[in-house]
Symmetry: C2
Subunit: 512 residues, 2 copies
């Protein structure tokens, strides 16, 4: 039996892991009994402990679930320190439940898997040596991939029960009041980590900057923190920002960015008070630049910009073109450093950003979302997780979540090298085609047939060829041919949840 | 059997209401499984409903627990509107669980009691016609009095389960993002209400100022809110502030304030980085004025000021004499309006302020607290709840909580009219003598004998006569004589919890 995105999930998997098959992008109005942490009361006077080794000894036990955030991105200096102590102490059967895993974490997680320190992982994604190892069957149990909003939902519902959260912060006081805005390793919003801070039974802060008590503003509060560890360094400032603060000069990317902008500005959503999420990377920054000009030319202002925030988006705020920036993470130093001085750049947690199981997430109010893709198929389903070789090399991030926007645009080149982006059937379905409205490539756009309104709005725009998704797929196939089908074993190495916690697809072990 | 403050709590009460007797001011380090709300998911687009009548109909059922906050104080225009609809709709057996009850709420609560709409109440306190009615046995079940910190503890532990919270706010957007800082009825910190927002199953915001989406800063978040009701007016700005923004000119109050200041400045705690809570009222403002001068003269700066905040305290922040103001409520317009422009005036919730059952409350870091009293007895036990006629006319507020300070000073006149403040035995024990360090009256001070260190520091200060508490009591008795003992029936009309949730005293029905 196939689910609603035409994927056959083995019954064995549904039963063993207690999943329901993906049904619909509509979450409806369920009543959900939330869970809450076990709290060990204390009155201070100080929570500072000597070393990570000591705090690991005091908190971790075999079989526990431990968590981290990925706000330091490739500049993270906390994850490896903590995992080193955990591996060396010989713990077994841990579940690793970070908000995501960046490349700097890959090798030590592979080591932890090999030594059976880690036997379960849930994450937004993974890449590099870790994705490779998991795709080849290294981990005992299947990885569970969850979007940022779904991770918040899973934590609130008790699907993820965090025993110990190890959170690196660029500042904290002796009681654990901390934020992401100040200090040498500042990264801005603590959005994803705020879930761990609220729900973990035990919370360890690791910082290189102990500040006088009480440290404010306190995004993480002393009421949530058990231990504070002072180390020499929590992150490399140069690698915390993504670096991509300059607009692309790639003509193909620029062409796509201009067409994305044309789609937005010719849609009915482009009017005073609209809202958008553009994401990061050179192409996204180019869209932001085109959009800025269009807003000025048409005297249109946005009510809010959402998501991972970049400097160009903050510039729109400062120019008065955007009223509010709703900030779950910052992709560069410019965005990170502006938060502390701008009351209109509001830090939001992952639940507020994108969780479908609360009383209203920001993504539900979003007009325009621009998202990327590794593959899109002729049902508009999107893969952002597995590569053309079937190996895991991606992350859901906020993809499924932001696709709830009124106008969800996938921006992608038709082909990458010798590999088609528009395909008959994606390797892994992450975001269902039902939530995708327009696909923009350098050779033209395709509009989801269920959006006849958009077809009407965009059909006659000069320089914006409207094709069917099948036509785009055929163009791609003509350029690069038909690849040899991928070969997998029957073993499931990863489960891809939809944002509501149902199972949308599985990833199998690659056959070499 | 008597408890540790020498009170005999009937076994029947302990058993029927599942209480433990008060034991100690030490909370130790229990592990507490917290509770969490039941959440009904929704995605908007708007939560605005037409009327309070409609939202009451959609949310309230017989037997439920409903809550309110008291941040509008005597200017509250929300409580009466909501209670009117609830009474008129004929609901029965509700538990009323506001953060406190102000005088403007008295008459309608009496009516709700008479009509059996309300059969249980838990509050910080009550006064006037309501205190009188309860003291004369009007309410079906005993009122439970809890401090602000204990209310937070009780909500987190599930002792108070709020079915519907009705929270008035001076601004909100259509999804429920709100703060207390902006709008005609601004009151500053939402500190007490933040507990309700986090833990209530259903949350109704009532506002007179609907703002564009998204409204920031959001102290209450859309993820917590079910309904938003727009009304013409939520509060009377002139009555929201306590009015007491001028220093007292009463010579007796001034004398006490000066002596309080002498106690502080001659104690070992008066040094750079110390912290304090002074409270509200003309006498407290006078202490703040004396303390300000002492800080300037001695080049001493404070790390933080805590609690209910007044304009003179905010002035200390702006003068650089205080680094941070940790703000759970604002007593006047000056304090309320400064929060939005001062990043060092941090809004804190009631748990962070004072809950003993979290990972560290602000009160545990407090050096100096100045508190008031209706009565103090020769064991230093304090009554802030029942009057000299035995009638309920007070509130615990943060009294038990702030008494955890290193130096807790009770500031009170020796006698009020023909009534002694220092008595052999207080009518009701609210704050145990174990947590009181110094009592300051216009005729001298008394130091708790367990604080020999303070006796050493304060014994030889000019103009600061150190007496024993018995000597103070005898002086009072000499002035006003021995009152006729109060007469009560055997019926218990109110239970006074200590901040840890044990039972410290009961209040009985007055016999007329």
């Amino acid at each position: 039996m196939k689910n609603n995105v035409n994927r056959e999930i083995p019954d064995k998997i549904l039963n063993e892991y207690h999943y329901e098959d993906f049904q619909s992008t509509d979450f409806l109005n369920p009543v959900i009994q939330r869970v809450a942490p076990k709290v060990t009361a204390q009155a201070g006077p100080s929570k500072v402990v000597d070393s990570i080794k000591q705090v690991v000894h005091d908190t971790v036990k075999d079989g526990m679930t431990i968590s981290f955030h990925h706000h330091f991105r490739e500049g993270d200096d906390v994850f490896n320190r903590v995992m080193r102590e955990i591996i060396d102490a010989g713990y077994q059967n841990l579940t690793l439940a970070p908000s995501s895993l960046t490349n700097v974490m890959n090798d030590i997680v592979v080591e932890a898997i090999q030594k059976k320190t880690v036997t379960n992982i849930t994450s937004s994604g993974m890449r590099g040596s870790l994705g490779d190892a998991v795709s080849h069957g290294a981990l005992k149990n299947p990885v569970i991939f969850r979007s940022h909003g779904n991770r918040a939902r899973a934590i609130e519902a008790g699907d993820i029960k965090i025993d110990v959260a190890f959170l690196g912060v660029p500042n904290a006081d002796e009681m654990g009041n901390a934020n992401g805005m100040n200090g040498a390793a500042a990264f801005g919003s603590l959005g994803y980590a705020l879930m761990d801070a609220q729900y973990a039974n035990q919370l360890v802060l690791i910082t290189d900057d102990l500040r006088p008590y009480p440290n404010t503003p306190a995004s993480i509060k002393q009421t949530q923190v058990d231990y504070v560890v002072k180390v020499d360094k929590v992150g490399d400032p140069d690698k915390i920002g993504s670096g991509a603060t300059r607009f692309t000069k790639d003509p193909k990317e620029l062409k796509i960015a201009k067409m994305v902008n044309d789609v937005i500005t010719h849609s009915a959503y482009f009017k005073d008070g609209f809202s958008f999420q553009t994401g990061s990377g050179g192409a996204a920054l180019a869209v932001t630049r085109f959009l800025r000009q269009a807003m000025i030319d048409n005297q249109v202002k946005a009510s809010f910009a959402l998501g991972g925030i970049t400097k160009p988006t903050v510039d729109l705020l400062n120019e008065g073109l955007v009223d509010k920036v709703m900030d779950v993470q910052d992709f560069d130093k410019g965005a990170a450093s502006s938060m502390k001085s701008s009351p209109n750049q509001q830090e939001i947690d992952a639940s507020w950003y994108a969780d479908p199981a609360n009383k209203g997430a920001m993504v539900d109010k979003l007009d325009v979302a621009i998202l990327s893709a590794l593959e899109i198929d002729t049902d508009f389903n999107v893969n952002v997780m597995s590569g053309s070789d079937g190996v895991i090399r991606g992350a859901i991030g906020g993809h499924q979540d932001a696709a709830m926007a009124n106008l969800t645009i996938i921006s992608a080149p038709l082909v990458r090298g010798r590999i088609a982006t528009i395909v008959p059937k994606v390797t892994t379905v992450i975001t269902p085609g039902d939530s995708i409205d327009v696909v923009v490539t350098e050779l033209g756009i395709a509009i989801n047939p269920k959006r006849q309104d958009l077809i009407g709005q965009l059909d006659k725009v000069p320089g914006l060829p409207v094709l069917t998704i099948d036509e785009l797929q055929q163009k791609a196939e003509k350029l690069v041919g038909t690849p040899k089908p991928l070969e997998f074993t029957d073993r499931v190495v990863a489960l891809a949840e939809y944002r509501d916690g149902t199972l949308i697809d599985v990833i199998k072990e690659v056959k070499d």
